[in-house]
């Protein structure tokens, strides 16, 4: 069925090509999400393991990278392992990179209202394993010395992945050891590094997007630096970046203005190469996917079947029987068709399922995925 290829984490968290294992024959469930902004968003798979295996997952697996392939060797999803949760009967252990910060500084103000920032303090051991992940703490009415102390304390508290145990005693104890692996798309790692700029030069937002990736790679060499798939269409925006802005926040601020007329779709696709393109909703009559009410299958516009796990967002979908009498030709969303902003693809023993979400989705899952 699928190939879920796990690769060893390289030095400073850089994804490597050292193949570890294929999890496909172990998992009992699989679910991933792909978003028109960011592309590969989240992936979760569960499996039953022995005690020794479960301990290995908890202690050695974080920051390993994954590439998921279809039965036809098409790349379906790509990302890194952010969290592991294991249930040992009534004991639960989870470890995550989510709250980790191994390069910390404190932004403070003195009693006189003078603003200052400590120099960064780092834990090189953590950085060597996972890459650099910034954290900022604010403190008011203090001194630079106290702020520096706080930076050291905060680093000591957050430099390692967070382990969260829990115990529940009583009732029927489960007999199996269940492992849940939570992966994030590489786009999420843009949130790890902060930057700032005082330049007021006006530069194309798409050009700045490419430059931002190069800047990021100088800290964490996670991405393909090619800008080949970044459209040249864009608008000029200021290069100014307020301090403590993460690269992800900056990227979204750059690209949310689109071409000035149409929005963009963007993200890290195959090979961790960044793309920016005009969204498919700009040409809403060009339908990529179609399905019938009586079908649990998806077809392209020519009638060829698309496996559910290969359906991607930034596309127009049409339900064949739902004919709009006179849809506005420029309207992306109509009764019979709509723009797919986000897809959720899941596979378990009950079969494969696909959820398509429209633009401006307010689904809880989508909001949580972006906040995580």
């Amino acid at each position: 069925m699928l190939t879920i290829a796990i690769f060893e984490r390289g030095a400073v968290g850089t994804p490597s090509t050292t193949f570890v294992t294929n999890l496909a024959d172990r998992i009992s469930s699989y679910e991933d999400t792909v978003n028109a902004t960011g592309w590969y968003e989240s992936m979760r798979c569960t499996l039953t393991a022995s005690e020794d295996e479960a301990m290995d997952f908890l202690t050695s697996w974080l920051m390993r990278s994954v590439i998921v392939y279809s039965p036809d060797a098409v790349i379906l999803w790509e990302g890194f392992l952010e969290g592991v949760e294991v249930t040992f009967g009534q004991e639960r252990r989870s470890v995550s990179l989510d709250l980790m910060a191994n390069r910390v500084r404190v932004r403070y103000t003195t009693v006189n209202g003078v603003a200052g920032t400590t120099s960064t303090t780092s834990d090189t051991t953590s950085q060597a394993l996972y890459g650099i992940k910034d954290g900022v703490v604010t403190l008011s009415t203090t001194t630079s010395a106290i702020a520096a102390n706080l930076a050291a304390v905060e680093l000591a508290r957050r430099k390692n992945p967070t382990m969260t145990p829990s115990t529940e005693v009583g009732g029927a104890a489960a007999a199996t050891i269940e492992v849940s692996l939570q992966f994030r798309g590489w786009y999420a790692a843009l949130d790890w590094v902060m930057l700032s700029s005082t330049s007021t030069t006006l530069t194309s937002n798409t050009t700045q997007a490419g430059t931002l990736i190069t800047t990021y790679n100088a800290t964490n060499n996670f991405y393909n630096s090619s800008t080949e798939d970044i459209t040249s269409l864009g608008v000029s925006v200021s290069e100014t970046v307020t301090p403590d802005t993460t690269c992800l926040q900056r990227m979204e601020a750059l690209l949310c203005v689109g071409t000035g007329a149409d929005r963009f779709a963007w993200g890290f696709a195959e090979g961790r190469q960044f793309f920016v393109r005009t969204w498919a909703g700009a040409a809403p009559t060009t339908v990529s996917y179609q399905r019938g009410l009586g079908e649990s299958r998806v077809f392209d516009q020519y009638g060829s079947e698309i496996p559910l796990w290969e359906v991607t967002p930034d596309a127009m979908v049409q339900v064949v029987e739902l004919l709009d009498a006179a849809p506005v030709t420029t309207a992306a969303d109509a009764a019979g068709r709509y723009y797919v902003e986000r897809v959720t693809r899941s596979i378990d023993k009950d079969g494969a399922r696909l959820t398509l979400e429209p633009q401006a989705t307010d689904s809880v899952d989508a909001l949580l995925a972006r906040l995580a």
């Binding site: 190939t3 290829a5 090509t17 193949f19 294929n22 496909a24 024959d25 392939y69 279809s70 039965p71 036809d72 060797a73 098409v74 080949e228 019938g292 009410l293 009586g294 079908e295 649990s296 299958r297 077809f299 392209d300 020519y302 009638g303 060829s304 079947e305 698309i306 079969g351």
Partner: protein
């Protein structure tokens, strides 16, 4: 002869649970009488007291259905598979004492429950049958009948139910060679080319799921592998183009109409893969390729599919896998030869002049397709490549299908596994596109410089493991 039913333990020891004589041997507490059918103290309990006559249960096929009421009449089959089988075998065992009967029961439980180590196999050859069917045993329970300590107390015969959880599909226990040390040349045409028909196949499931294959690939001469593509299906279509293009924007290589299958309706389950060989590059790093498929009306025909852009890796000769094309929309109720036009485009990524020659392309109608990457077989003479989809955990023991296919390097001198390679897609299985007609195995590879060398060769041996649901007969 009587039916032969035995369990091959994880240690290789055979335990017969069906006798051959009119009377059953009584276990006296020593020796290994169970290793011979004529002396085994175990016996299938085909009587009213022990239980009804037993035959292996055919694993029910689990069908995945799509659609249905209230939108359509009936559903559509979109997939199928088999789950494990749990069945009960009535059995009885005789000992000279109560304790010896219990010892037989203990022993039977131990040899059946070895799945965490080397799994045991249930072997089944009915009276008059030529072949034996083997099933892997994953778990077993033995429940003695209450008669043993009540009504038949003192008779020293334990009647019991052996409940096995076993694999859904049985195997012949041995591999059948379907390609025997053939020479495969890394090119889509000519003698010993890269698409070869398998020998006659046996077993069930050939037309639906195929039979697992082990494939040994020994590179010859300097033919070291960096990337290997393999597929199973019907014979591919090879088209020579041999045309060079130079462009600073884009330029098309246009094929004539290509029939992707001849002689009848498109086979169910077959998809089309498009691969091509490009040579003689200038400014390799700026060259990009795409492929579009159009209808039979030529280069201006209706656009049916556009493949994602691909990047070549070697300036002398690059092999590009564009991806697959689902042709289910063209599988109509009438017999037609679907014909498409394949248009290959050379693009310059940034306006730099690029040149490339399209040497040839191949259209693969396939069932299974896989890609194995980062193969480095070191000193060519010392290692070979091995796809394993069937294995025997015990030396000389029966083969069973591997839970997870794997591809790895092996040492020539002693077949020692070196390390496993990443394999993506679905490894080729032996198929019969039509009953009695064997399918093909196709392969292509690039060397450690990512170059596709048409004169590279490899010696290939493929062995299939016949599968059966229950009875094998003479197959």
């Amino acid at each position: 002869m009587a039916s032969s039913i035995w369990i091959q333990g994880g240690d290789g020891v055979i335990t017969y649970i069906s006798g051959s004589g009119a009377s059953q041997t009584v276990y006296a507490g020593s020796g290994t009488p169970w290793t011979s059918q004529s002396t085994t103290p175990y016996e299938i309990g085909n009587n009213d007291v022990s239980g009804g006559p037993w035959t292996a249960i055919a694993a029910p096929q689990v069908a995945a259905l799509s659609g249905g009421a209230p939108f359509t009449i009936g559903s559509r089959l979109v997939g199928s598979g088999f789950d494990y089988v749990t069945e009960e075998i009535p059995i009885q065992m005789r000992g000279t004492t109560h304790d010896n009967c219990v010892a037989l029961k203990h022993r039977l439980w131990r040899i059946c429950n070895t799945a965490f180590g080397l799994p045991a196999q249930l072997a089944y050859q009915p009276n008059g049958a030529t072949g034996v069917v083997y099933y892997p045993i994953y778990a077993a329970d033995i429940q003695e009948h209450a008669y043993f300590i009540n009504n038949e107390d003192g008779r020293k015969i334990m009647r019991a139910t052996l409940r096995l959880t076993r694999g859904a599909i049985g195997t012949s226990g041995s591999l059948s060679t379907v390609l025997n040390g053939i020479t495969v040349t890394n090119v889509g045409t000519g003698a010993n080319n890269n698409s070869r028909q398998l020998s006659a196949l046996s077993g069930e499931l050939l037309s639906s799921h195929g039979a697992p294959m082990n494939i040994k690939i020994v590179p010859s001469g300097t033919g070291a592998f960096r990337k290997l593509w393999m597929a199973s299906g019907i014979d591919r279509i090879y088209t020579s183009i041999n045309t060079a293009k130079t462009t600073t924007t884009s330029a098309d290589y246009v094929s004539g109409g290509t029939a992707v299958q001849t002689g009848g309706r498109l086979l169910y389950g077959v998809k089309i893969r498009v691969v091509a060989r490009f040579t003689t590059f200038t400014n390799l790093s700026k060259a990009r390729f795409t492929c579009t498929i159009r209808d039979r009306n030529g280069a201006s025909g209706k656009l049916l599919k556009t493949f994602p852009q691909q990047t070549p890796l070697n300036a002398t000769a690059s092999f590009i896998d564009f991806g697959y094309f689902d042709i289910s929309a063209y599988r109509k109720a009438i017999a037609i030869e679907p014909t498409f036009n394949f248009v290959f485009r050379l693009d310059s990524s940034d306006g730099t002049s690029v040149t490339a020659t399209l040497d040839y392309f191949e259209i693969l109608p396939y069932y299974d397709f896989c890609i194995i990457e980062e193969i480095s077989n070191g000193a060519v003479a010392s290692e070979y490549l091995y796809l394993e989809q069937a294995h025997n955990a015990i030396a000389g023991g029966a083969y069973t299908y591997a839970p997870r296919p794997s591809f790895y390097d092996r040492r020539v001198s002693d077949d020692t596994p070196i390390y496993e390679r990443l394999m993506r897609g679905r490894p080729p299985r032996a198929r019969e596109p039509n009953p009695g007609t064997s399918g093909y195995l196709w392969m292509s590879w690039t060397d450690t410089s990512d170059q596709h060398v048409k004169t590279d060769t490899a010696t290939v041996t493929a062995q299939a493991l016949p599968l059966y649901l229950t009875l094998r007969g003479g197959g």
